[in-house]
């Protein structure tokens, strides 16, 4: 993993920034969110993919692509969390000030 991170830090940074931007927007977004049921299905799917990656079940190139996708997804989530949290802090700060 460390090897992948150092080898392709550009792509990973891209995912992180993308996540950050999405997280930033998500706080004030008015659109429809994912239903709890869908979220659970998605979480289960991701867990299955992580299991497959750790179990090294998928061979060859698809295996590498799976690893790459999961790492990018993980960084995306980290970016989203950071973005949403920061945006929330900014908004609540403004509200207090106003």
């Amino acid at each position: 993993m460390v090897y992948l991170a150092t080898f392709y830090w550009g792509w990973l940074l891209g995912s992180l920034l993308l996540g950050f931007a999405m997280g930033w927007i998500a706080v004030v977004h008015r659109g429809q969110g994912v239903s709890k049921r869908t979220a659970r299905v998605l979480a289960f799917l991701v867990a299955a993919l992580i299991g497959a990656a750790l179990g090294r079940i998928v061979p060859g190139r698809p295996g590498y692509w799976l690893d790459l996708g999961l790492i990018m997804f993980a960084l995306y989530l980290v970016g989203c969390s950071a973005g949403s949290w920061l945006r929330d802090r900014v908004l609540s700060g403004n509200a207090k000030g106003a």
């Binding site: 460390v2 090897y3 992948l4 080898f7 392709y8 792509w11 891209g14 995912s15 993308l18 996540g19 931007a21 999405m22 997280g23 998500a26 706080v27 977004h29 659109g31 969110g33 994912v34 239903s35 979220a39 090294r56 061979p59 060859g60 190139r61 698809p62 295996g63 590498y64 692509w65 690893d67 790459l68 996708g69 990018m72 997804f73 995306y76 989530l77 989203c80 969390s81 949403s84 949290w85 929330d88």
Partner: protein, 465 residues
Amino acid sequence: MGGLFRWSSKWWPGLIPLVILWVIAAWTSTGPLESDLAARSAAALKDSVLDKGRIAVEGRDVTFAADAFSEQGRRDAVASVLAVPGVRLVNDETRLVPEAAPFVWSAERDVARVTLSGSSPLPASRSRLMEAARASLGGVEVVDQMNLARGAPKGFDSAALLLVDQVSKLKDGKITISDDKVSLSGMARDLGGREAIAAALKNLPEGYSVAANEIKAPPYIFQAYKDPVAVTLTLTGYVPDKNTHGTIVAAAGRKFFSEKVVDNLKVSVGAPSGFAGAVVPALGALSRLSTGTLVVSDREVKLAGDAFYDAAPGQIRNNLLKDFPQGWQVKADISVKPAAAPVDATVCQQLFSELLGKGTVRFETGRSTLDPDSAGLLDRLIETALRCPTANIEVEGHTDAVGDAAANQSLSEKRAQAVVDYLVKAGLPASRFTAVGFGSAQPVATNDTEEGKAQNRRIEFVVKE
């Protein structure tokens, strides 16, 4: 934290660009990643001893095939590939190099090239053997037909290196190691090569033994050529040692009284036994020919040339058979040279004086037995006597002044008679010759020096009209 869950339900739109980003990343990165991992894996295997190593990378999975030389080496190689950062798993297609039983290696030399074949234990020893062969053989082409196998006996490398060195001493032949047995066959390049190889085999590593050494030596050649035009005797070929060399050259000097001896002999081991005992009488036979060649090849002696008179070929043949050591073969192809034109008595006398000026008829010390070394001179005297068939000849014997005068007188008479007997045996009429002895009464030099005494001990031919 509750907020985070609420917000996270709205994070999904970003997944669309993320998937696009992922596809691009996968598209562009797979190739470079694979080649980088292949390079790193190869670097990790740099110090492993392997044959036919092959690395294929798909994604982060390495398929690694190779022939290893030990189970430990095989496991270590797989582990070192697995330890390369970024490698996810290794498809292990390694195996052990097949074991050879018996473990056979050979080096064969023919006219054009040297071929190394059979089994070699490691790539390093294989290349070392090739290098050693190239170094010791100079410009000769060396062909590598070796394969790699396990099961080499202990000390194989040093044994094989020693034997590669011996190949340079062969003209053609084959050297084989089968487990710890060495067998050799073929022909040595030089005289003494066979002996040198046998000596080197004593340095084989412990445990190795020579099963068969059938290296043959090249023929041991000695040649002598008597050239009547240049008045030379040319000696070429080999003699076993310095002493024999001296003996042979000295004998040639005594037997060939008028010829200059050109000595091109080389000393080399490998002579057949009884070499000097055969070569010296053969040179004596050659000295009795007007022109001739002597070739001694191993134990076979070939003599060819022209004798001076009709009775000579038979005498020469008989003497050779009588004098030769056992186990030697003689082939004498002797003809008689055409008789020289007759001359008158005065010329005859001149020819006799000339011959006796160059050489002396020798006898055994204190006795009247002719020295075989004088056979060549006597034949020339006989040839001359045949050229003036009407002249009567007085054969005079002289001694030095050492010892009793009466004894010297008797010795000189007997010696003159011995010469006459020899001439008669050669086919000349006895009536033409008179043997006379003068003892020490007619010295031609002082009797005070050894040199002078030697000059006084002589036979003279005097033509009587």
